[in-house]
C-alpha cells in the first residue's frame, strides 16, 4: 500500500564551505503529507531547492518515483523530465506579475502539452475553480490579496496534474482562517488528485491537522533529530528540542 515516492539518502548540503545539513535520510511515501519542520534558518528552504533540483547536494542521493534524481548517474535532463511530475508553491506564490492569473496557469500547459487552446482554457478554468478562484482569470497578481496569490500559485502548481506538490511555508502571512482553508484545500487536493505533498512549515495547527509523516531538522546538529507522525511525536517526543518546538516551549 505505502509505496515510496521520494527517497533521500545521506544528503549533505552546503553553501561553499558552510555546511547547512549533513547525513539527512528520509522517505516520502505516496499520498503522504510529509512535513519538514525546524526553526528559522535551519535550512528548510535550502533542502527544498535541493529536492526540486535547483541546487546540487555535496553528497547523497535522491530517488524520485523510483528513478535517480540526484546521484546514481542522474543528469539535468533527467531532473527536468521528473520535475514535470511535480508542482511547487513558493512562499509568496511567485506568480509572474506581467501575466494574468489565467496566463500564469496556462503557461506550463502551453509549454509541455499539445492541448488545443479551447482545452487549455477549460483546464485553466478548472484549476482556478478548484482553488476557489473561478472568475479571476483576467486579474493580474497585483490586483489580488496575499491568500489569493497563494491559491493562484497552487492552481499553477497543479496545472500539469503533478504526482507530488512541494510547498514552502504555504500559510506564512495568512490569517488563521485562510490558513485553515488552505490546509483543507491541500487535503482535498491530495484526496481527489491523488498527489503526494511535501511541505515546509512551522505552523503548528497545520502540522497536527494534516501531517502524516515528518522530519525535524535541527540547526545546531545540522541533521534530522526526529521523524514520524507529528501527533505521535507530540505524545512521545524523542528529545527536548522537538518537545519545545511542538509545544511552543510551554512544557
Amino acid at each position: 500500500m505505502t509505496k515510496p515516492f521520494l527517497e533521500i539518502k545521506g544528503l549533505t548540503v552546503a553553501y561553499g564551505e558552510n555546511v547547512i545539513m549533513h547525513d539527512v535520510d528520509f522517505t516520502v511515501n505516496e499520498r503522504d503529507v510529509f512535513i519538514i519542520m525546524g526553526g528559522s534558518g535551519c535550512g528548510k528552504s535550502t533542502l527544498l531547492t535541493v529536492l526540486t533540483g535547483l541546487k546540487a547536494p555535496e553528497k547523497g542521493t535522491e530517488t524520485f518515483a523510483g528513478k535517480p534524481f540526484w546521484g546514481n548517474g542522474a543528469t539535468k535532463a533527467d531532473r527536468d523530465a521528473l520535475m514535470r511530475k511535480a508542482g511547487i508553491l513558493y512562499q509568496s506564490g511567485a506568480l509572474w506579475s506581467s501575466m494574468t492569473l489565467a496566463e500564469n496557469v496556462a503557461m506550463p500547459l502551453e509549454q509541455y502539452t499539445d492541448f488545443t487552446p479551447a482545452e487549455i482554457k477549460d483546464l485553466v478554468a478548472l484549476k482556478l475553480d478548484l482553488v476557489g478562484l473561478g472568475g479571476f482569470q483576467n486579474y493580474y497578481p497585483a490586483e489580488i490579496s496575499g491568500g489569493m496569490k497563494k491559491r493562484a500559485g497552487l492552481a499553477r502548481a497543479l496545472a500539469l496534474d503533478p504526482q507530488i506538490v512541494f510547498f514552502d511555508e504555504p500559510s506564512a502571512g495568512l490569517d488563521p482562517i485562510s490558513s485553515k482553508n488552505l490546509d483543507d484545500l491541500i487535503l482535498q487536493i491530495r484526496e481527489n488528485l491523488r498527489t503526494t505533498i511535501v511541505m515546509v512549515t512551522h505552523e503548528l495547527p497545520s502540522i497536527f491537522a494534516i501531517g502524516t509523516n515528518s522530519i525535524y531538522l535541527d540547526a545546531r546538529t545540522k541533521t534530522v533529530i526526529a521523524r514520524g507522525n507529528p501527533n505521535e511525536l507530540l505524545k512521545n517526543p524523542p528529545n527536548e528540542t522537538l518537545e519545545h518546538f511542538l509545544t511552543r516551549g510551554k512544557k
Binding site: S97, S98, T100, A102, F115, A118, E119, D122, L123, A125, L126, K127, D129, L130, G132, L133, G134, G135, F136, Q137, N138, Y139, P141, A142, L158, D161, Q188, E191, N192, L193, R194
Partner: protein, 373 residues
C-alpha cells in the same frame, strides 16, 4: 483504448445520453462536437455515463466542468452516472465556490481614440508628478545645505565613487574611440588640401566643446541613470521606500538627493577626462596613421584649445548630470509595484534622459550663441 465521447440524442422524451469511455488522459476526438451540442442543446435532460472510463486526469474533469456549466446556463438537467471514484468529489470541489461576480473579459487592444485620450491624460498627470518631484528634490537640496537632511555620509561617498571612478573604464574606451573616429574621418577630407595637421584642431575643438560631454552623458544615462531607476524601483517594490517614509525620513533626502549630488559633481570631472581621452584618440590617428610628429600634434592641439570651449563643455556635462540623475530617480520613485514595472522604469529613465539631454543641448547652444560664446 483512446478516449471517446458518444452523444445520443435520439430519445423522444427530450433527453440525451453521453457515454464516455476509454483512457481520458489522451485526446478525445469527438470533444468539440459534444461541446457544440451542449452549447445549443436540443434536449432538456442529459445523462452522463462514465462507466467505461479506464483512466483519467484533469482533462476529463475540465471537460465535464465545461459541459455541466453549459447545462446550468441553458437550464438543462443532468445526471452523472457511474463515474470513477474521485470524479464526483472533484466536480463538487470545482463548483464549491461560486464564480467571482466581477469576472472581467480579457483585455483587448485599445481603440485609437481611447489610446489618444488616455495618453493625453497620462501626459497631464505626469507633468504634475514631474513638477512635484522636482519641487521635493529642490526642497531636499535646501535641507541638505542647511544640514537638516537625513543622509548617510557613506551613502553619498559610495554614490560618488560609483558614478565617478567606477565609470572610468567605459568612458575611456568610448571617448578614445570617438577621438579616433573624428580624426580618421576628418583626415580623409583634410588630406585633400594637404592640411592633415588641422586634424588636431578639429578633434580638440569638437571634443571639448560638446562631443566629450554628449558621449559621457549618453554613457552615464545607460550606466548610472538606469541603475538609479532599477535600484529605487526595486526598493519601491520591496516596500523599502514606504519603510523610509513611515519612519519620517524623506526618500528625497535619503535616496534622491545623494544621487543627484553625486552625478552632478562627477559629470563635469568625467567630461574633462573624456576631453583628454578624445584628444588622445585623435593623437593616436595623427601620430600612427597620418605620420605627424607627436610634438607638432600636441602643439597644434594646445593652440586650438580655448578655455571658453572647455568651460562650455563642462557646463554641458554638469547639466547632463543633473538631468540623468533626475530622470533616473524620478522613474525609480514613481515606479509601479511589480517586476515588469522596474523594467519599464529603467527603459523610461534612459530614454527620457537622452531626450532631455537633447533639449538641454539645444537650449544651451542658443544661450551660448546669444552670449557670443
Amino acid at each position: 483504448m483512446s478516449a471517446t465521447a458518444i452523444l445520443n440524442t435520439d430519445g423522444t422524451d427530450g433527453s440525451a445520453q453521453l457515454r464516455l469511455s476509454g483512457d481520458w488522459r489522451a485526446d478525445c476526438a469527438g470533444r468539440d462536437a459534444v461541446v457544440a451540442a451542449f452549447e445549443r442543446p436540443a434536449f432538456r435532460h442529459a445523462v452522463l455515463n462514465g462507466a467505461e472510463i479506464t483512466d483519467w486526469d484533469s482533462r476529463l474533469i475540465a471537460f465535464l466542468v465545461r459541459l455541466l456549466s453549459l447545462c446550468k446556463k441553458n437550464n438543462v438537467e443532468y445526471t452523472l452516472a457511474d463515474f470513477p471514484d474521485g470524479v464526483p468529489s472533484l466536480l463538487d470541489l470545482a463548483f464549491a465556490v461560486p464564480e467571482h461576480a466581477d469576472a472581467r473579459p480579457p483585455r483587448r487592444p485599445r481603440d485609437f481614440l481611447v489610446w489618444l485620450g488616455e495618453t493625453a491624460l497620462q501626459c497631464r498627470s505626469s507633468v504634475g508628478k514631474a513638477w512635484d518631484f522636482s519641487r521635493r528634490t529642490y526642497a531636499a537640496a535646501l535641507r541638505f545645505a542647511a544640514h537638516r537632511a537625513v543622509v548617510r555620509k557613506q551613502d553619498v561617498l559610495a554614490e560618488i565613487q560609483a558614478a565617478g571612478a567606477g565609470a572610468f573604464p567605459i568612458v575611456s574606451l568610448i571617448c578614445f574611440l570617438i577621438g579616433l573616429i573624428l580624426a580618421f574621418v576628418g583626415s580623409i577630407q583634410l588630406k585633400m588640401f594637404g592640411a592633415e595637421i588641422y586634424v588636431s584642431s578639429l578633434v580638440a575643438i569638437s571634443v571639448t566643446r560638446v562631443m566629450g560631454a554628449i558621449m559621457t552623458g549618453v554613457i552615464m544615462a545607460g550606466r548610472t541613470g538606469a541603475s538609479y531607476a532599477a535600484t529605487l524601483g526595486s526598493m519601491r517594490v520591496n516596500e523599502e521606500v514606504d519603510a523610509l517614509e513611515t519612519m519620517g525620513v524623506s526618500p528625497f533626502d535619503f535616496l534622491v538627493f545623494p544621487r543627484v549630488l553625486a552625478l552632478s559633481l562627477m559629470m563635469p570631472l568625467l567630461t574633462i577626462y573624456a576631453d583628454f581621452m578624445g584628444i588622445m584618440g585623435g593623437g593616436f590617428v595623427g601620430v600612427f596613421m597620418l605620420g605627424l610628429s607627436p610634438d607638432d600634434y600636441f602643439r597644434m592641439t594646445l593652440s586650438a584649445l580655448t578655455m571658453r570651449n572647455i568651460v562650455i563643455g563642462i557646463v554641458h556635462g554638469a547639466v547632463y548630470g543633473v538631468i540623468i540623475a533626475l530622470c533616473g530617480c524620478y522613474q525609480g520613485i514613481t515606479c509601479g509595484r511589480n517586476a515588469s514595472a522596474v523594467g519599464s522604469a529603467t527603459t523610461a529613465a534612459v530614454v527620457s534622459s537622452i531626450v532631455w539631454m537633447t533639449v538641454a543641448t539645444a537650449v544651451l547652444t542658443v544661450i551660448f550663441s546669444v552670449c557670443g560664446a
